[in-house]
Amino acid sequence: MKFNLKSKPLFAALVIALLVFPFVTDALLGHGWVRIADFALLYIMLALGLNIVVGYAGLLDLGYIAFFAVGAYTYALFCSPQFGLHWPIWIVLPLGALLACFFGVLLGAPTLRLRGDYLAIVTLGFGEIVRIFMNNLNAPVNITNGPQGISMIDPLRIGDFSFAKTHEFLGMDFTTVHLHYYLFLGFTLLVIFVSLRLQNSRIGRAWMAIREDEIAASAMGINTRNIKLLAFAMGATFGGLSGGLFAGFQGFVSPESFSLMESVMILCMVVLGGMGNITGVVLGGVLLVILPEAFRHGAGPLQEAILGKILIDPESLRMLMFGLALILVMLWRPAGLWPSSQHRRELAPDEATVHQEQETVYDASR
């Protein structure tokens, strides 16, 4: 997949749109939606990280949020009154990413030599275990503060520049949600850059080869276990990084933010948009952050208007939607709603090759 932004005017338009976005949104929809956009960017970062694991290397990670949690709690513990530590972010963010990476390797090393299903279930368990530890590591020694979580976390700060205050540039007020928008946008672009570079590289090709046919990949001399571990660790690293940003932005972390549902939501973003396709994943992320918000504002009143009462609360509706989306996309549009250029060609293949491909895939999975 390549960005079709070779044309300069289009590219310039996109840059300007991204830059003025928070102000336009602020003016049109209000402050709250800029905040939602900030969260959307965090989720997009997470989805892009998971995309390396699921989309490129074809490994199903069902506990991805745990790495996000590791990053968030690292930031929270080292930048809050909890231990009276206030480390600078240029130490804490990399530290969180590194710790997440460490857990990724710890988890991946034993499981990645086995079939993919094992990784799925082990990561599923890991997500739950991390939550159990966060919930319970408040006694007898209080580390995580248990279910109450950690509050009064230091805001993101570079030198003397705090992202939690309003700053004035060029006669315009940049409030905290605006500043975080630009910071997160920067990080998101960084993750996109890394993803793009990796995708068209020797390593990226090895990932995709493993995704397509692991046995053939190993016969080509690819050390499948190490290369898979690399993908898993990279994904975890991005998760940890986003987690740190999340903690600094929100100022508060608690185990509740890291439930299985969050992992499923991120997986949804990747699957819905189209696995392995960066544009698709970004669009999937945007869609899945905005839709629930729209539900929150729209579904309740709509149900009341039509049915006279609230039949399904928006939260349940959101979960139901995620579950159904995973099933329906896999059944009808396995390449996602926005297939990459490669996948698009694949949507209209001739019958014979499809049949033959299915045969080989069946063989491969046996």
């Binding site: 190993s218 499948t224 490669q342 895939v361």
Partner: protein
């Protein structure tokens, strides 16, 4: 250069069991550098099992495995690929959703080095290597005679082209031994003939070839030496014209194809 008297691969006393079934019983054979070596036998004779042992997909239970002067006891496919054994699959296993060029480029993996840092920074050595990989892949595509846009998805190739692409992908690993599992299965006479020419030119380039084949005619016309497996045992070995007259072989094939 080829050395007709150098043993590239030597197996002695290879045994392989699956549960209670003996798939290979005490098979010994050697392949000389520069030859085309054929492995034939009726269905279920253990050809594919032996092939999978040679390429590292299965571990043998007993026996010794010597390739190019190195002993391999328990091995993995990727280590053998690194050592210089490349293979194709009986039921074509291409990377279906990758382009033909990318398929071959994956084959270069084992002979190239760029890691994460090189991929991210695109420094000069990474760029040079990437260009070399693509260049070599194009050459191989041409070499095996696939005339298609390089970004065609592998699964959209014709059957014969897929077989050729698999060979190109294997050649990209710079093998000393190219192991082909029934390369002409399902091909028509013209395709078979042109594949035969391709295999001869691969051999002329100094690559040793191991061939499992059902098509006895192809084996007879192409191989320097053949071994015949039956019920997991090697029942004959030698020049094709001698082997085809071997009574044990004729009995194994019920006097059919081999006669």
């Amino acid at each position: 250069m080829t050395h007709p008297d150098k043993k590239l691969l030597e197996l002695t006393g290879v045994c392989k069991h699956f549960g209670g079934v003996t798939a290979l019983a005490d098979v010994s054979l050697y392949i000389q550098e520069g030859e085309i070596y054929g492995l034939i036998g009726p269905n279920g004779a253990g050809k594919t099992t032996l092939f999978n042992v040679i390429t590292g997909l299965y571990q043998m239970d007993h026996g010794t495995f010597n390739f190019d002067g190195n002993v391999f006891e328990r091995s993995k496919p990727h280590l053998l690929a690194q050592a210089g054994i490349a293979r194709t699959f009986q039921n074509i296993r291409l990377f279906a959703n990758m382009s033909v060029l990318e398929n071959i480029m994956v084959g270069r993996h084992v002979r190239t080095r760029t890691g994460i840092w090189g991929a991210l920074s695109r420094n000069s050595s990474a760029r040079t290597e990437e260009l070399d990989i693509a260049e070599r892949a194009r050459e191989l595509l041409h070499y095996v005679g696939i005339q298609r846009p390089v970004n065609t998805l592998a699964k959209n190739l014709s059957y014969g082209e897929q077989r050729r692409l698999e060979i190109a992908r294997a050649l990209a690993t710079e093998p000393k031994l190219l192991a082909l599992d029934e390369p002409v299965a399902g091909m028509n006479a013209t395709e078979t003939e042109s594949l035969k020419t391709l295999l001869q030119s691969i051999r002329n380039d100094g690559i040793t070839v191991l061939l499992i084949e059902h098509d006895v005619k192809l084996i007879m016309g192409l191989c320097d030496r053949v071994a015949v497996l039956d019920y997991g045992k090697k029942i004959a070995e030698g020049r094709p014209e001698d082997v085809r007259r071997d009574p044990a072989v004729i009995a194994a094939y019920l006097g059919g194809e081999a006669a």
